[in-house]
C-alpha cells in the first residue's frame, strides 16, 4: 500500500549484468556492425581496383553529397519501419513539398535568405501535413500503412503535376543553390548539405535511442497491444512518426531544390524504395521493434559506394542494382534467422553472425 509507485524492496548493489562479458563478441552480433564490415570490404575492394581515383577526397565527397538527401529521408523511414510500418509516399511528398515551396518562393520573388526561409518553412509544413494525413489514416482509420502511403504516393505526385502542369519549376533562390546546394562548410571542402544532414541524423538518432519517444517507437513495433495496455498512446505515437517522416520528406524537398535547382518531378520515383532498402540493409527489421539509426546510415552508403565504384572501375552501373538487390535479400535473410533464433528462446547465444552463414552446422 505504499504511495510511491516504486518496486518494493531496498535497492540492491549495482548489478554487473549490464556489462557483457565480451564487448567484441557483442559488437559483432549487431547487424548494423556486420553491415559496416561489408561496407568497409566493398570500400577496400574498390580502393584496390582503382587506387588513384576511388579513395581520394573529391570522389568520397561526391558520394557523401549524393547520400545526404536520402539520409534525411532515411531518418523518418527508420522510425516508421521500427513500428512495423512503411512509408511509400516520401518521394512524392518530397516532390510535392518542393513544388509548393518553389511556387511560394516564385510568388514572393527575390533570391535572398528571406525568401529561402519562407520556402523552407513551407516545404516542411506541407510535408508535415501529408505525414499527418498518412498517420491519421493508419492509426485512426486502421488502413494498412502500405495502402495508405501507396495512395498518398500517387496523390502527392499527381497533385504536384496538377500544380505545375507537369513542367518543372527551375527558379530557385540563388542563396539556396550556392550554399546548401553546392556550398561547403566555411573553410573546408565538406558539403554544407551533408553537414546539415548529419546534424539532423544525430539529433534524431539520439531521440530514437535515448528518449521516451524513441522507446515508445520500439514498443509499438514490438508489441502494439502490450504498449496499449500499459497506457502508451499508440495512436498518437504512430501519427507523430508518420508526421515526422512527412516533415523530413518536406525538408528533403527543399534540399533537393537547392541541390538540383529544379523540382525534378519525375526524378523521385525510386526514392522510396532506395530508402527502404537502405533502412532494411542497415538491420532494421521490417517486422518492427528492432533497428538503429547508425545502421540506416551504413545501409545508405552501400548502394552509393557500389554505384560510384562500378562507374569508376568501368563496370556497367546497372550492376549496382543487381548487387543492392542481393545485399537487401541477404540482410532480410539474416534478420529472419535472428528472429527465429530469438523465438527459440536461447537469447544472445544464438545471435546469427555473418560467419555462421558459411558454416552450416552450429
Amino acid at each position: 500500500m505504499t504511495q510511491t509507485a516504486a518496486p518494493t524492496g531496498v535497492p540492491v548493489a549495482p548489478n554487473e549484468q549490464g556489462k557483457a562479458p565480451n564487448f567484441l563478441a557483442r559488437l559483432t552480433g549487431i547487424q548494423s556492425f556486420q553491415i559496416l564490415l561489408v561496407l568497409i570490404v566493398i570500400f577496400l575492394i574498390f580502393t584496390l581496383l582503382a587506387p588513384t581515383i576511388f579513395p581520394n577526397w573529391t570522389n568520397i565527397r561526391q558520394i557523401v553529397q549524393n547520400v545526404s538527401i536520402l539520409a534525411v529521408l532515411g531518418i523518418g523511414m527508420t522510425f516508421v519501419i521500427i513500428t512495423s510500418g512503411i512509408d511509400l509516399s516520401i518521394g512524392s511528398v518530397l516532390v510535392f513539398s518542393g513544388v509548393v515551396s518553389a511556387k511560394v518562393m516564385q510568388a514572393i520573388g527575390g533570391s535572398g535568405w528571406g525568401t529561402a526561409l519562407v520556402g523552407l518553412v513551407v516545404a516542411i509544413v506541407v510535408g508535415l501535413l501529408w505525414g499527418l494525413l498518412n498517420g491519421f489514416l493508419i492509426a485512426k482509420a486502421k488502413v494498412p500503412p502500405l495502402i495508405v502511403t501507396l495512395g498518398t504516393l500517387g496523390a502527392a505526385l499527381g497533385l504536384a503535376q496538377v500544380i505545375t502542369n507537369g513542367v518543372d519549376i527551375r527558379e530557385v533562390p540563388t542563396v539556396l543553390t550556392d550554399t546548401i546546394g553546392y556550398g561547403n562548410v566555411v573553410g573546408t571542402t565538406i558539403p554544407l548539405i551533408s553537414l546539415l544532414a548529419l546534424v539532423i541524423v544525430v539529433i534524431f538518432g539520439i531521440i530514437l535511442h535515448k528518449t521516451k519517444f524513441g522507446l515508445y517507437t520500439f514498443a509499438v513495433g514490438s508489441n502494439e497491444e502490450a504498449a496499449r495496455r500499459v497506457g502508451v498512446k499508440v495512436d498518437r505515437q504512430l501519427i507523430s512518426i508518420y508526421a515526422l517522416s512527412g516533415a523530413l520528406a518536406g525538408l528533403a524537398g527543399l534540399l533537393s531544390l537547392s541541390q538540383y535547382g529544379t523540382t525534378a518531378i519525375a526524378g523521385q520515383s525510386q526514392t522510396n524504395l532506395n530508402v527502404i532498402a537502405a533502412v532494411v540493409i542497415g538491420g532494421t527489421s521490417i517486422f518492427g521493434g528492432l533497428g538503429t539509426m547508425f545502421g540506416t546510415m551504413v545501409g545508405l552508403f552501400i548502394p552509393a559506394v557500389l554505384q560510384n565504384g562500378f562507374v569508376i572501375i568501368g563496370v556497367q552501373p546497372f550492376w549496382q542494382q543487381v548487387a543492392v538487390g542481393a545485399v537487401l535479400v541477404a540482410a532480410v535473410f539474416i534478420d529472419q534467422r535472428r528472429r527465429a533464433a530469438a523465438a527459440r528462446g536461447s537469447g544472445s547465444k544464438s545471435k546469427v553472425s555473418l560467419s555462421s552463414l558459411w558454416t552450416r552446422k552450429k
Partner: protein, 255 residues
Amino acid sequence: MTSTIPILEARGLTRSFGAVRALDHVDFDINAGEVVALIGDNGAGKSTLVKALSGNLALDSGEIRYAGGVVDLNSTTAASKLGIETVFQDLALAPHLNPAQNMFLGREIPAPGVLGKLGFLDTKAMRLRSKAAFDDLGATVRSMTDPVGGMSGGQRQAIAIARAVAWAKGVIFLDEPTAALGVVQTKNVLETIRRVRDKGVGVVFISHNMPNVIEVADRVQVLRLGRRIATFEAKKTNMEELVAAMTGALDGAGA
C-alpha cells in the same frame, strides 16, 4: 466478511458476444489484503471477468465499485490509476525491449533536470529498481539488458508478475500465473502472492491447479456459465467440493 467494504466489487456484470452470454449477471468481491481464487471450467467466464475488472472490456450492464465507490473502468489506464494491475496469460510484454524497459513501459522515470523535460530517461534508476523488484520476487532474470523475447517462459512470466506487483496498490489479477513455471518458481509465485496480500493488496488468483488454490487462497469463488455459483472459505473446503462446484454438481450451493 460482510462488515468490511470490499476493495473491489462487481454486481450483475453482463456481457454478450453475439449469442454467447460470456458474463451473466456475475457478482464478484475481494477485500484488501485477501487472496481470492477464481476458478471455473474452460469457458466459465474467468478471463472475461478479469478483462472487465481490469479495464479491458466494455460491459453491457452491471456495476463495479472500488473501495465502495462506483467506478468506470473504461480503459487499462483508468484501472492502473486506481492501482489495479493484471498479469494476462499472454503477459503483454514487448519482446524487443529489455526487462527494465518492460517494467517501466508507460511509467518511465525521467532523467533529472532539463534532460528529463526533453524526454530523456533515467535508465540506471529504472534498471536498479527493476532488479530490486525481481530480487524481491526471488526471480532470476538473467540479464537486464537483453530483450525479453529471448528469455525463457518462466523468466518472462516473472518479469510480468514483478511488474504488476510493483505497481498494484489495490488489486492484482494473476491469470494462470503458474501455468508455465517449474516447481521452485511456482513456490516463489505463491510466496509472492502471500507477501503482496500482507501488504494489504487484494490478489485475484486464477488457476486450474486446485492444490495451489487451496494452499494460497483465503476464499475461492467458482464461476460457471458466466455466473458466480459458489464461494468457499479455502480452509473449509477441499478439492472434491471445488471440482463438484465447477462441473455443476453443486449448483445453487455455497454462499
